[in-house]
Symmetry: C3
Subunit: 473 residues, 3 copies
């Protein structure tokens, strides 16, 4: 099996076995960095960064140079022809006709998928808005694995801005894939988005316990534990235990604490107004003085601002500079695999990914996430709304681009009304009719107005709700 | 013969035979892209982009990397020392002392010529304001030739903004050089500039027929045919035919339709105010449904905005992504030839270029084109006004930098007045005296004030016109 | 001996012998530029420019490419993660874990030292604010040496903005190190900063003669000679001569005139308001028509604006384009040496550098230079104030980062007051007590308030001065 010509848009694109194979190659390359030069001679990587970045871009470019390849760079949002109103698809097709691989960072969620769909070459997502940052996740996972030998059954704490940190979103799924338990310590108000948690429990089989009144007994300055995800293979069957046992279990120690910077650049106006610094306690030696942090790896995707004390830099638990340094060999092995310059011995897959039914209609509805690539002015011309139907009760669609979830209020069936105006009826999504519509016939509406605009009439039993905004999750 | 150490500033810099030789090398390289790596090992190209661009820059840089060469890049207008008030000549001399070749894009018309004049290394113009973009033209020509085998006698339509599109200006001369006929379909108000048309007919020998009341019978949504250039070798002798025959001839089919984006960034304030979108019909399948478009190549230099429908992307007539992709091998062969890494078998030239007398005086007049490099504050210090005398009746000067034409109103002779104040007389440029002045003695003035400022008196027969602006064409 | 793994932050980091060895290698490389390709294959240089620059950056990148190495570039201040509030140290550690060498330009004075301290790889300062620009100095020195064979005993004039020109500050020490005499011709108001002159006389052993009423007899349009530095080995013993003899000596000729651009981007508001152009005479052929300029090398670090006439470009005395061109081989040999790709035969050192006692206290005082890296918001978190005690009478501290000097007003001794509150007394820095405090016990204060804030009481003899701003020199 080979990873050649594949793309890495979300961390789900790689199976457990593929990631393990990539880590094995990373080990091999790390031990002989100088010997990799020449592996990608004559290959060209386009490094397209439509958001400010130094670290990630330089890490990718270093990786390609260490393999002996060449790099062409567009690092400046404003100074590009995209500003002239060009679509991402056009750009992807053109650049894809020049080079052998594209690395893309973009502020719109799902943009990397568009590049992968249109460029015709392997694409690596270097961060697409608040969606995902899968190569950062690979560096994170690799670091935990190097230090703890395995991820299985570990307790990993996620700390800080869990709402906007795209590294967090990728990491959650990867940890679950590798059988780790996840402890959520969000800054109040910056909790993990619902659609991420839903995908987590739906696809990775573990249990999520949320704390309605979170953990007020927690130590001063520690964020309260907001939720815990328990991996299905958890040996301690924590999920079965009452809270008091959980506290006991946690006292045995947290294996890693993943700290994040408040992503102020993505904050809403209201969030910007709040005094975040007060709400964002600094992770320092004092906070980490408890027994439970004795063997905790202190991690951070960097750059840090004030959320992680400088005194930890010399602490043996601190891993963040190692994480950064490992970015080069991890990305080297990824590039070499996708370009087919190396082959990987990929073990048999544990579990295939879930094949959800696809919902795709020219007339909508549009994804309710305003940062989604599919709703941008230059992209709506060619990107049709596309969703996975991830749940029927309640009916839930997940955007194929940004993966935001969305529950339509009304539905109809293309089968029932075909050709007959009199039968063009719409129903409440929660009605018993809705469940009976086959996926390929399903038509969804975010509001009764949307349905009526398209010529549908309310069914006899439909309950028209007052107009409200589409529930965005 | 060799192209080594030559520059490509305007498309006129290469003869028909040289372009054919370059295309042959492009064919060769296209067929064995991987084998070109190493051809330019140790050579360095400076990629200097003083205007936003991604596509063209990345194409050039890819080409150099595919040849195994190195690239240094300055891609940001604002962040350069030029902002400190340095002249282009100084910059060119310094960068020319570092590298083996310079690729330059600059907003000032004629800037690439200045870089070529001062750098001491081969220079490629990657677009200088609204003047020329010769490598885009090479990609365009190469694409037509690949698809239609020859350009001779073809009918090529140019569509949209023919005023500011620099790709159009280069392309017109190249098409004429290769014996194609040109049909002009400009957006009303964005017609090809007069000085381009004049050079076309003056130097390429064909006939230009302009339609005073253009072609109102044309189909709905089609731009009216504004003018037609008939190549001298045109087998059908279209030039001799009445309009009705032309319509018949056109019905046999247009070989390529070259669509352009409105170059809004160069529009005057008045032009910006107009509702362009309304005036700029979208080229789509419906517009191209007629018989005459059955075998038409649909071309576009990209990026496109709204002027070319996405539905054409999958149409077999659409060539624009191929044009872009071919940019790499075309530029590879160009770079290899100019660096002397490859030699070209250049056939005997059909026609040598015209050697016009040169007009060059320290005291002017300055080029009337405000976008010309020669009138910019940092450049007037060292760039003397320089023109070709391309016509005597009416007396017409063509700027050596931006190629804008200009008809001076008054003239004098340096021979007649030499040393004698009493004989320092100026004459109307249209007078019979003017024709008798030898080019090396000619002195021209844009106004009688200019003449009198320099100490000349009106001759007895001169007709002083009311001051008006210099006719800029 | 080897220069491998060393950094070049200030020109003092290299001894006379090391610079000579570098120049010998430069000679060797200049003579065989094509043969150096491959010397640094597989090595990666990070080119980090946090201030606009084209020339210097392209020169470094060209040098690395000529050696066959690879380059990763961050050329844009705004578009970097530093803007997110990251410290220079964090950035340096991360990038240092990717690459083999860092070239850094930064607006803060002393920033390159921080990068060198934290990155773990060789670092080259490509300009840090108004502090130093040592590789420009190497190009300057190399050019003079190539043209005049030696620097010993030469008379080098420095012309124009001697206050903000960082190239000037590096050059002064290098000229002194090589035994040249220096003539200062500053634009009035833009004289060399005091701390530079102090370091010059203190460490290089020569004499500085300043002219209170500078040289009003100087020729029209010539800046007045403001000061002269006489190298200790000066054969003519100019220092012993009265002014009239100096004039005679100068008539024998100035060996080089180093012209600089007014560094308007660093001017204070008051300086910007003045009509500089009037005060900044153009160096042209007329100004250089005197006998004393007959064999003068006309030098300039470029870019120039209006201070150097274009007519000199073709004058055999003009050296500025040669200086720029030599930047490539000089930087090639520097990179090759620091990366250990070449070894240098370094002669025995003439004089070791002076080992000043170090002053370093957590609680201050902070460097009074507002452009110093050590006082910036993101850096104070981890950079402790650090100084060299370069003089005891008057007590003078020199910042370890920006090298600005500073005379504290009050002192105390950590030995005398240890543990006993009653003896926590502070003294005037100029008192006879101050001299007796051993460097390792010395505590300094910029004001009596600072002392009292830290719990010190005035000693019986201390003279409290009215609060005034710390004397910044």
């Amino acid at each position: 099996m080979t990873l050649a010509n594949r793309s890495l848009v979300t961390i789900d694109d790689f199976s457990y076995g593929e990631i393990e194979a990539l880590f094995n190659l990373t080990d091999e390359m790390s031990g002989a960095m100088d010997e990799q030069y020449g592996l990608c001679h004559g290959k060209i990587m386009a490094s397209l960064f439509f958001e400010p970045s130094t670290r990630t871009r330089l890490s990718f470019e270093t990786a390609m140079h260490r393999l002996g390849g060449s790099v062409i760079t567009a690092a400046d949002v404003g100074a590009t022809s995209l500003a002239k109103g060009e679509s991402i698809a056009d750009m992807a097709r053109v650049v894809g006709s020049y080079v052998d691989m594209i690395v893309i960072r973009h502020p719109w969620e799902g943009a990397a998928k568009v590049v992968a769909d249109y460029s015709g070459v392997p694409v690596i997502n270097a961060g697409d808005g608040g969606h995902q940052h899968p190569t950062q996740t690979l560096c994170d996972l690799y670091t935990i694995k190097k230090e703890k030998k395995t991820l299985k059954g570990l307790k990993i704490g996620l700390w800080g801005d869990l709402k906007y940190g795209r590294t967090i979103h990728s990491l959650i799924f990867a940890l679950a894939k590798f059988g780790a338990n996840i402890l959520f310590y969000p800054t109040p108000g910056l909790e993990v988005p619902e659609h991420v948690l839903e995908k987590l429990t739906m696809e990775y089989g573990g249990e999520l316990e949320k704390y309605a009144t979170p953990d007020t007994a927690s130590k001063e300055k520690l964020f309260p534990l907001d939720a815990i995800y328990l991996t299905p293979s958890s040996p301690h069957q924590l999920a079965m235990m009452p809270d008091v046992n959980l506290q006991v279990e946690l006292k045995t120690g947290i294996d890693a604490l993943y700290v994040t910077r408040p992503q102020k650049e993505r904050f809403s106006a209201a969030e910007k107004g709040e005094e975040l610094r007060e709400k964002y306690p600094v992770v320092d030696k004092k906070l980490l003085r408890g027994r439970e942090f004795k063997k905790t790896l202190v991690m951070h995707p960097l750059p840090r601002v004030d959320e992680l004390a400088l005194e930890l830099d010399t602490d043996p638990r601190s891993m963040y500079f190692k994480q950064a340094a490992r970015g080069v060999p991890v990305r080297m092995s990824l590039i070499a695999l996708l370009l087919g310059a190396k082959d990987a011995a990929i073990p048999q897959e544990a579990a295939p990914s879930i094949a959800y039914p696809v919902y795709r209609r020219d007339y909508g509805p549009r994804c309710p996430n305003q940062r989604c690539v599919s709703v941008q002015e230059t992209e709506v011309k060619y990107l049709k709304p596309e969703y996975k139907i991830v749940n029927r009760n309640p009916l839930t669609l997940r955007c194929a681009y940004c993966e935001h979830g969305f529950e339509p209020e009304y539905v109809a069936s293309s089968d029932w009304h075909e050709g007959k105006t009199a039968t063009k009826k719409y129903h409440s999504a929660s009605s018993h009719w809705a469940d009976k519509i086959r996926p390929e016939n399903l038509i969804v509406f975010r509001s009764n107005q949307d349905a009526e605009t398209l010529g549908f009439k309310p069914s006899r039993y439909v309950k028209i709700r007052r107009r409200r905004k589409g529930t965005q999750k």
